[in-house]
Amino acid sequence: MNKLIIALLFSLSTQAQAKIKVVTTLPEIAEIVSFIGAENVEVQSLLRGSEDPHYAEARPDYILKVNRADIVCSVGLDLEIGWLPKILSKSGNAKVQEGGPGLCVLGNSVQALDIPEGVINRSLGDVHAHGNPHFNLSPLKLAESGAEVVRVLSVTLPDKKSEFEKNYDSFKKKMTELHAALSKSVKKTKVMEYHKEFTYFFAAYGLESLGSLEEKPGMPPSAARLAQVAKLAKDNKVAVLFATPSAPHKTLERFRELSGIPVVIVPSYVQRGGETKAKSIEELQRLLVTSLP
C-alpha cells in the first residue's frame, strides 16, 4: 500500500514538473515563447520559415503535433486562415481550438497597420480585413505581441505568471535595444516592396515606402502596372525594392531592367534548417538592415 502511495506521489510530482507543450506556426513565435516560457515550455514550430504561411498546407504531421500540444500560438490577422483552422479541428484537441484555453493568437495584442476601411471585398485582392499580418518584421511589434503569450501561458500555469511577466519584460527590453542599436545604422532612404510583407520593417526604421509592386495583395502585377511603378520608383529615386524568394523572379527582373533599381531578395520569416543568416529574430533583423543601401 505504501509503495502504491509513493508511486502515485512520484507520478504526480513528475506531472507537475512536465513542460507545457507549445506548437507555433512560425519560428519567430517559437523564439518568443521559448524566451518568455523559459524552462517551463517545450516549443516546436510547424513551419520552417521557407514556406509562405498564407498558402501552407494542412499537413497531417502538423495535425499530429497540434494533437499533442497544450498551447498553439499563431500570428492571426487571417495570415494562417487557409490551413490552420483545418489542423485545429482535425487534431481533436479541445484545448487549442477556438474558445479553448490554449489558443494563443499574437496578432490579438498588436496594433496592426494597413487596416482597410470602407467596403472590403476581394476586388481589393487578398486583403486582410483585420490589418497587415506581417508584424514579425518589427522588433517593437514583436515585443507587443508577447503580451498574448504571457496571457495564455499564465492561464495554463498560473503559479508561474510572475516569472512569465518578468521574462516578458526582458524580452521587450531585448527587442527595444535591438531596434535602437540597428536604427543607428539605417540611412533614411526611399524603399519599395513586392508584396506588403516588409511594411512593418520599413515603418519600424522610419524608411519612406512608396508602396508595393503588387497593385492588389496576392495578385501579380500587370505589365502596365510594372511599367508604371518602375517609372514612379525611378522618378522618386527609390533606393531598393525588397522581395522574398517566393516572389516571381521574372517580374522582379523586369522591374530591375525598367527602373535600374536594385532588388534585394531576403527572407521575411526566421528560417529553421538549411544554410541561412536568419536563424533568429535578431539575425533576420540584422540581415534586413544590412540589405539596405
Binding site: E57, K90, A94, S246
Partner: protein, 354 residues
C-alpha cells in the same frame, strides 16, 4: 418542389442578413461556389454547351462552444432543370472526445480521395470512370454518423469509420428502400514526410452495403496524394486511387470490377499548372454470351489538363479526353472530348485539407 422553395427561402434569408444581425451571426460563414463547364464531345455533339454544372451555397460555423454546424445546398443541372438538394447538413465536433471528431447528419462519405471533395475542388474537370462507376459523378452522400480518431502513435494514423442509412447509394431522387445491411466503411490514413522532396498521404478503404434485394456491395481501395510545395506554389502533385468492387446477390454469380486513375501535375509558373490523368477500368467478370468464357476488356483514357489559377478564388481549366473502350472480339470504341471549366468562389471558403 415545396422543399426546394423552402431551401431557396432559407438561403436568401441567410445570405441577406440585415446589418443589425451581422454582429450576432458573425461566426456564420457563408460561401458560394459556381462551377461552369462546357463539354465538347467529338462523337456526339448534341450535349455540347456551356452550362452551370453546379451552384453551391455553404454555411458553416460554431453552433455553441462544443458543436459546429455545416449546411451545403447545391443546385445541379439535371436534364435541363436545376434540382436543388441538400448535399451536406451535419452537426460536428472535435471537442468532445479527445483526439477524435465526429459528425452526424448528411455528408460526403469519408472514403477515398475524390469522394471527400466537392467537384469544384478537384484538380481536374470530370471524374475518372472508377469514380463515376463506384461512387457518383461527384460523391456519395448519405445520412448517418462518422467518427474519426488519431491513434496515440508517433506516426500519423487517422482512422475514420462511418455508418449511414444506406437506403440509397449514389445519386437518387427517391427515398430508396431499407437495406439489409446499411452502408458502412472504414478509412485508415497514414502520412509520410520526405522533407524537402514532398509529403505523401495514403489511405486504405473498405465500404460495404447490402440492399433491400440482397445485393451485396463490397469496395476495397487505396488512395494516395503526394504534394511538393515550393514557397506558395504547389510545384508537384501526384494523386491516385485504385478500387476493386464485388457485387453479389443470392443465386447469381458475383460481378467484379476494378478501376484506377493516376494524375501527376506540375506547376509551369505560380498560376499555371499542367497535368495528365491516366484512367483504367476493367469489368473482371465479363464473359462472352455464347460460351460464358471470360471476355478480356479494358477501358483506358488519357486526360491532359491545363489549369490557370487567376487567384485563390477563380480558376480556368481546359482538358482533352481520349477514351478507348476495348472488348476482346469487338471493335474498339473511341470517345474524345474537350472540356472547359470556370470555378468561382464567393465569400469565405473553408480551410483546405491536405
Amino acid at each position: 418542389m415545396k422543399n426546394q422553395i423552402h431551401l431557396v427561402a432559407l438561403a436568401i434569408l441567410l445570405s441577406s442578413t440585415p446589418a443589425w444581425a451581422q454582429n450576432i451571426l458573425q461566426n456564420v460563414q457563408t460561401s458560394a461556389a459556381i462551377d461552369i463547364t462546357a463539354p465538347l464531345h467529338f462523337e456526339n455533339s448534341e450535349e455540347n454547351k456551356l452550362d452551370i454544372r453546379s451552384a453551391e451555397l455553404l454555411f458553416f460555423g460554431p453552433l455553441d462552444p462544443t458543436f459546429d454546424g455545416t449546411l451545403n445546398v447545391a443546385a445541379h443541372n439535371e436534364e435541363g432543370e436545376f434540382a436543388l438538394e441538400i448535399h451536406e447538413a451535419y452537426l460536428s465536433s472535435s471537442k468532445v472526445i479527445p483526439s477524435s471528431r465526429f459528425k452526424i447528419g448528411k455528408f460526403f462519405l469519408g472514403v477515398g480521395r475524390l469522394n471527400q471533395f466537392h467537384q469544384h475542388d478537384w484538380a481536374f474537370i470530370s471524374g475518372p470512370r472508377v469514380q463515376t462507376e463506384f461512387f457518383e459523378e461527384e460523391a456519395v452522400a448519405d445520412s448517418g454518423g462518422e467518427f474519426s480518431t488519431l491513434l496515440p502513435l508517433d506516426s500519423y494514423w487517422d482512422i475514420t469509420v462511418g455508418v449511414t442509412n444506406g437506403y440509397t447509394y449514389g445519386h437518387a431522387h427517391d427515398a430508396g428502400e431499407k437495406p439489409r445491411v446499411p452502408t458502412h466503411y472504414i478509412h485508415p490514413v497514414n502520412f509520410i514526410d520526405f522533407g524537402d522532396a514532398g509529403a505523401l498521404q495514403w489511405g486504405a478503404n473498405y465500404l460495404g452495403r447490402t440492399d433491400a434485394h440482397g445485393v451485396q456491395t463490397q469496395l476495397y481501395g487505396l488512395d494516395f496524394v503526394f504534394k511538393k510545395m515550393e514557397g506558395k506554389t504547389l510545384s508537384f502533385l501526384l494523386q491516385s486511387e485504385i478500387w476493386y468492387r464485388n457485387l453479389s446477390a443470392p443465386g447469381t454469380s458475383a460481378k467484379e470490377d476494378m478501376g484506377a486513375y493516376i494524375y501527376p501535375q506540375i506547376s509551369l509558373n505560380e498560376q499555371l499548372f499542367a497535368g495528365l490523368r491516366v484512367d483504367l477500368f476493367s469489368e473482371l467478370s465479363r464473359t462472352f454470351a455464347s460460351d460464358d468464357s471470360r471476355q478480356d476488356n479494358l477501358n483506358y483514357a488519357f486526360v491532359p489538363t491545363l489549369t490557370y489559377k487567376h487567384s485563390e478564388f477563380t480558376l480556368f481549366r481546359a482538358a482533352y479526353t481520349y477514351d478507348i473502350q476495348q472488348y476482346k472480339g469487338e471493335a474498339d470504341s473511341l470517345n474524345q472530348m474537350i472540356e472547359f471549366q470556370i470555378v468561382s468562389l464567393l465569400g469565405a471558403h473553408p480551410a483546405h485539407a491536405f
